[in-house]
């Protein structure tokens, strides 16, 4: 599989997972947010789901940029700028490559994280999706550096990343929300997981499953 084929698999799985979990993601956002997180993400990813094949596949950057544009034009709320910026920064880092090394994958993901931080001003530990995303990338980096990583097409590394995300999302529970709408609740935000972080875990688990199947 080429890098854009791999990316297609990831994007399609991501879109399917988001559409399938719309209500769940909303429920997560309802505890201390306003309950629209799932709807907002769906508005963009249902377009990705339906039109992915028609997107420019000439290189990795072009494909990521198109997804960033779709999100910027369809997704409202905090998630639009945050996820949109993530994809646009990843696209910039990927550039016109059609082949991507393990190191480049990590660099692209780190660029997305920097974009989210620039856009939303959040740091780690402030109870946002960063608290799941960053540990997952760390785990992926470690995993991909293992000797067997090339042989299993990164399957184990991706699973490790997904597991790290789930664990880290769970660990947002005792955190005090400092960003986004949840921050208004102050102390009341303690005791429930962050919606964005939990969604990252759910999405990465789906991607890991799809990846294993595709590369079995």
């Amino acid at each position: 599989m080429t890098a854009t084929e791999d990316l297609d698999l990831i994007l399609k799985t991501m879109a399917n997972t988001i559409v399938a979990n719309t209500d769940y993601f909303c429920e997560l956002d309802q505890v201390v947010g306003d309950g629209d997180f799932g709807y907002s993400l769906r508005s963009g990813f249902e377009v990705v789901q339906a039109e992915l094949e028609t997107f420019d596949h000439s290189n990795v950057g072009a494909l990521l940029k198109k997804v960033g544009f779709v999100i910027s034009s369809k997704v409202g709320g905090s998630s639009g700028p945050i996820w949109g910026t993530a994809f646009l920064r990843a696209a910039k880092e990927a550039g016109e490559r059609i082949d991507i090394s393990h190191e480049e994958v990590i660099a692209i993901l780190r660029a997305a994280v920097t974009g989210i931080m620039d856009r939303g001003g959040a740091s780690l530990g402030e109870k946002t999706l960063l608290d799941a995303l960053v540990p997952a990338i760390d785990a992926l980096e470690t995993g991909l550096a293992q000797p067997g990583a090339a042989a299993d097409h990164g399957t184990a590394a991706i699973q490790a990343a997904a597991d790290a995300a789930v664990t880290a999302a769970e660990a947002t529970k005792p955190m005090l929300a400092m960003r986004g709408r949840a921050a208004y609740t102050g102390e009341r935000s303690i005791g429930s997981v962050d919606a964005g972080a939990t969604a990252v875990g759910v999405i990465l688990q789906s991607i890991s499953g799809a990846w294993r199947e595709a590369h079995a």
Partner: protein, 331 residues
């Protein structure tokens, strides 16, 4: 769900089409960006004023586009700020040589969309300034928080800069005036019931028959405390004890006093609250310059009300007294 609606996901576009059709030619509608704008905008001799917040707060802000108020509104879905593209395209379309003013309520979603949108516009050499409205005293403001929310006080910011823009004020003057209003306006909201976003189809939160939420956010965000419903007199005390000391408003001050309905409360109750608040303020030596009793910034059909005080000086008084022509009207 006790609502007049077709496909709930088409609620916002169908509402916007109604606003457009009811305007008798005064407004235009661009469905691609949920965009309602003045038919005579952009006006090269006037700063264009744009707001784009979540929907569900009507008449704010899609129904206050018109002469003396907003030039354009590009809302997102119910309770979600607009996608970045709406902000970018709206600003491009409304671009005026005198510049564009973004009025943003201080919510993460709105802020991020307008920040990114402004960056994109500035890359296109469009002159943009931003006003950040944050009048809700329910939320403690400090350096490490996201800051206060923008609620009903938004109306006064738009009214003041809208009137000034109509008279040809520069972008810089509007920023000064707008920030002056923002510095002098404070609000607290109290909810008696929840509300049901059309797509969700069920209430946003639960609240018992005898309970109220003091300091509610206009998207149903929790407030300062959940208590038993008390009498209207005691509720006005709750409002004033939170709002008055915050600025603080002092004896000798002149104010605009707004009692805003959150959507499901009768205007009769709003006037009842107004009368009590008016008397209590005057007894503290705070003089009411002008009254505002209506729905200005709602939370769908939530039962509840907010009280807003704006300390006025001669400049603001003059601007509040200027006329305006918008969709939401009686005659």
């Amino acid at each position: 769900m006790k609502k007049f609606v077709n496909d709930p996901r088409q609620f916002v576009p169908e509402m916007l089409e109604g606003i457009y059709l009811a305007s008798g030619g005064a407004l235009k509608y661009e469905p691609k960006y949920n965009l309602i704008y003045r038919a005579d905008a952009p006006n090269p001799n006037k700063v264009s004023i744009i707001q784009g917040s979540g929907s569900g707060h009507e008449p704010a802000h899609t129904m206050i586009v018109g002469k003396g108020m907003l030039d354009a509104a590009c809302p997102g879905d119910v309770f979600a700020g607009p996608p970045v593209e709406f902000v970018y395209e709206t600003t491009k379309l409304l671009n005026s040589p005198k510049g564009v003013l973004h009025i943003v309520n201080n919510y993460t979603g709105d802020r991020l969309a307008f920040e990114q949108g402004r960056e994109m516009c500035e890359a296109d050499d469009i002159k943009v300034e931003t006003l950040l409205v944050n009048d809700d005293v329910a939320v403690k403001d400090s350096t490490w928080t996201v800051g206060r929310r923008g609620v009903a006080g938004n109306f006064f910011v738009i009214k003041a800069v809208g009137a000034a823009a109509e008279k040809g004020a520069s972008l810089e003057e509007l920023v000064r005036i707008g920030n002056d209003v923002i510095a002098n306006v404070r609000t607290l909201g109290i909810a008696l019931s929840s509300c049901t976003p059309p797509v969700k189809g069920s209430p946003l939160f639960e609240i018992a028959d005898d309970e109220m939420e003091v300091g509610i956010g206009i998207h149903g965000e929790p407030g300062r405390q959940r208590t038993k419903i008390v009498s209207a007199n005691e509720i006005v005390d709750l409002f004033l004890n939170a709002v008055v000391p915050d600025l603080p408003f002092k004896s000798g001050d002149e104010v605009a006093l707004m009692i805003n309905g959150l959507g499901g409360t009768t205007i009769g109750e709003l006037y009842l609250l107004y009368g009590i608040a008016h008397k209590k303020l005057e007894s503290q030596g705070i003089k009411v310059f002008r009254s505002y009793v209506n729905e200005y910034c709602t939370s769908l059909e939530m039962a509840g009300a907010s009280l807003t005080l704006l300390k006025v000086n001669n400049e603001i008084k003059g601007l509040l007294n200027e006329p305006a022509e918008v969709s939401i009207r009686v005659f």
